[in-house]
Symmetry: C2
Subunit: 460 residues, 2 copies
């Protein structure tokens, strides 16, 4: 059984008018996510699904005809997980945007996968509730995409990742059957935890069509503090001191010397002379802010830094502006490979120092900012894509950063996902037995290998 | 290929002296857990494993010869999950009791599965750390058993269940291969979440031989409050008010009218006249205790109850004694079927009222105490096992309680597990697609159906 010449016609007959698109410009615009250096194929068509039944119809058809399907949300991913493969049906969930219910008393909500994180966060905030997961893309990325990649963010250090806030899912399986996982209750151990299996599986095991999230009461307005260090080791020691304390900041971010030099070239943030590394902390609990930020500034000073607490929300935003601008500033400098290693917190110093060495070894700029409280850093390799030798060195440095993360007892991806970008590296992290088990699970859920092929696993 | 006549001899040749036991008294003593009414088979032998390699040798042998293997910890489970099946190898992990490491700075620990929860909790407490999961069996049950059943407890209402504290596992697969899942880092999305798939799988997918747990800084000494109500509806309304507030108690337990009558027959707790239902709350954060317990007593009074905060740890223990004694008192009355339904918190009132109706309908006593803050109740059906008609009615009531839980949008098991006791009921909760997927997962991990057969799934 070969691939039929035109899945678009087959699907057009099954779906409402306008749901199947083949315009080459539209397809090109939907063929890749934000992983700019990751290859993408040429898809056969784009389907904009509006209902579970339509998703089911697409998968039944694709399963029958063995056509690859690439599920997509807002394509803000950073690992090529939503990138097209040749001949694929791009299955967009972006039009499934209903917030189906917010249950204030049980503190749960049911949403469709195309709901944008920020829209949802604002809707629950309007009811005095809080959905914590806050990936940097939250103004654009969809909850379905957040679930597919198990997205993290700034507030993970206090509130955990997306998976920690998902109670249950509706998932269309590869053959079009509709599975419901989990339950709306606070606890439950009836059967295997399929919810967690789908969260973070990057569209390779099924397509999520409904999401039941947990919520919590609204947090307080965040208060911010900043600390300046003359060396990165003192900053890392401060991170350990803060994180082993009883009170948890709602954010704990680090800017390394290279990142700091880059942002300081754009704007004078007024950092004290001799500042080499910066930590920024927030607390969002009015009862604890004084204790949390007091603990942070005391730890910074004990480790030789200078620290101050913002005297209001405006100054707090300014402290955070430097951290937020690193990515934008680097993007101006050239092409960028964004890495995402996560190490045990106590190895943070070795990670940042090691990245600095790799920067020198491969002669490319690597800024190493990130979620220091979780040991999850985003070494960003900036290079001139027009220079083949520099591009080669950048790619080698990108791989060397992952090797360093693994050597330090960490992982190749803390929150961005494996996608197409790191599928070759997953084998190294999992080892042969782990990889075999992954392949078995993939084959169990997707026996014809139609779901997002080439992502997460290269072969199965 | 038939079952060889004597797995004990085969295994004796592979394992150290004394590891394989066949004494009928020893086997009988190891043939069942605490689910007293659940049937158990006659095993072929008991293996006391001390190393991963020994577990691997047992499973390789069992896989080759297609012999059922029943993994066991301390056999304190309540669903027959550790009960023998005919001809099985009972594979005890109780002798794997090493705490392999407590990493204070990264707040993680690595332990063997036979470590008793209380021993581990005390070991980490000695370092100023805290492992929250606290099933009622914590003085006896092992961490391996806690992982196998995804054990809950009193403090879930604030700290979550066992799964929330497991970072990674070493698991021996059905064919003897050794798999490592997860990672020691705070975050990580490389590959599928196999850790969560094994947690709560009750020994049907693999045998856990090492556990990496997360830890947190020690909590404060708990402070306790109690509230007395003239009707259960007011108590349930108080639960909703407390749980939708910003501050979370570390415990929120309910004693229903039948349970209250039973414990009051044994001892006068001095509850005010007209008390029908009792709530007991704790808080374990010195910074928040006043606010949490103040919120609790205010909510109770707003809903027509009377409330008081214990004036010290001794009075706090007394408040809790009534709750803790319910089970012991009921066990004196006769045989007991302990149920474990969990419903959305707002359905708690209907659950408790419905259980009262079932008690009348089936003419059996059913006390309905439990973890009200999570909507997870333990209706306990007391009956005379020597009376066949009462036994029949008790069993019917047991099933009717699960049906009620499902009708209220809940689950048949909040924390005890499916085991052998509820395997027939799992199908009803999962539905046909969910059941099919469960069977596929089971077959993927255990193609010869040797791992704890008849538990969780009846057929696969």
């Amino acid at each position: 059984m070969g691939v039929p010449p035109d899945p678009a016609s087959g699907l057009t007959a099954l779906l409402p008018e306008g749901a199947v698109l083949t315009d080459p410009d539209v397809l090109a615009a939907h063929s890749r996510d934000h992983a700019s250096t990751c290859p993408a194929g040429v898809p056969a068509c784009l389907v904009r699904a509006r209902t579970t039944e339509q998703v089911s119809a697409v998968l039944r058809y694709a399963h029958e005809h063995r056509i690859p399907v690439v599920p997509q949300g807002a394509r803000t991913g950073l690992s090529g997980g939503a990138n097209a493969v040749d001949g694929a049906i791009l299955l967009s969930l972006e039009r499934m945007t209903a917030i189906l219910g917010i249950d204030e008393e049980n503190q749960i909500a049911t949403v469709e996968p195309g709901v944008v994180n920020a829209d949802f966060s604002r809707a629950v905030a309007g009811k005095g509730l809080f959905y914590p997961p806050d990936p940097a893309s939250w103004e654009m990325s969809t909850l379905g995409g957040n679930v597919a990649t198990n997205a993290g963010g700034l507030c993970c250090v206090k509130y955990g990742v997306t998976a920690d806030w998902i109670r249950g899912l509706e998932v269309v399986l590869a053959d079009g059957r509709v599975l419901r996982t989990g339950r709306p209750t606070a606890k439950g151990v009836a059967g295997y935890d399929l919810t967690r299996l789908f969260v973070g599986s990057e569209g390779t095991l099924g397509v999520v069509t409904k999401i039941v999230t947990a919520l919590r009461p609204a947090a307080g307005a965040p208060q911010t503090a900043i600390a300046f260090f003359g060396d990165i080791g003192s900053a890392c020691a401060t991170v350990t001191d803060v994180m082993t304390g009883r009170l948890r900041p709602s954010m704990l971010e680090l800017i390394d010397p290279i990142g700091l030099a880059e942002v300081s070239r754009e704007r004078d943030y007024g950092f004290p002379p001799g500042t080499d590394t910066v930590l920024i902390a927030q607390s969002d609990s009015s009862a604890e802010n004084t204790a949390v930020l007091g603990g942070f500034t005391a730890a910074a000073e004990r480790n030789g830094g200078q620290a101050l607490v913002a005297d209001g929300p405006e100054e707090g935003k300014l402290f955070l502006a430097a951290r937020r601008s690193v990515g934008l500033v680097l993007e101006k400098r050239g092409a960028m490979l964004s890495d995402d290693v996560c190490v045990p917190r106590t190895r943070l110093r070795e990670l940042v120092a090691g990245v600095g060495e790799l920067s020198r070894k491969f002669d490319v700029r690597i800024a190493c900012t990130g979620h220091a409280g979780d040991g999850n850093m985003h070494p960003a390799i900036v290079f001139d894509a027009a220079d083949p030798d520099e591009t080669r060195r950048a790619n080698e440095a990108f791989e060397a950063v992952m090797a360093l993360g693994l050597d330090l007892g960490g992982t190749i991806t803390g929150e961005h996902g494996v996608g197409a970008l790191k599928a070759n590296w997953l084998e190294r992290e999992l080892g042969p037995v782990g990889l075999d088990v992954h392949r078995s699970v993939k084959t169990t859920f997707d026996p014809r290998s139609i779901l997002n092929p080439g992502k997460v696993l290269t072969r199965f």
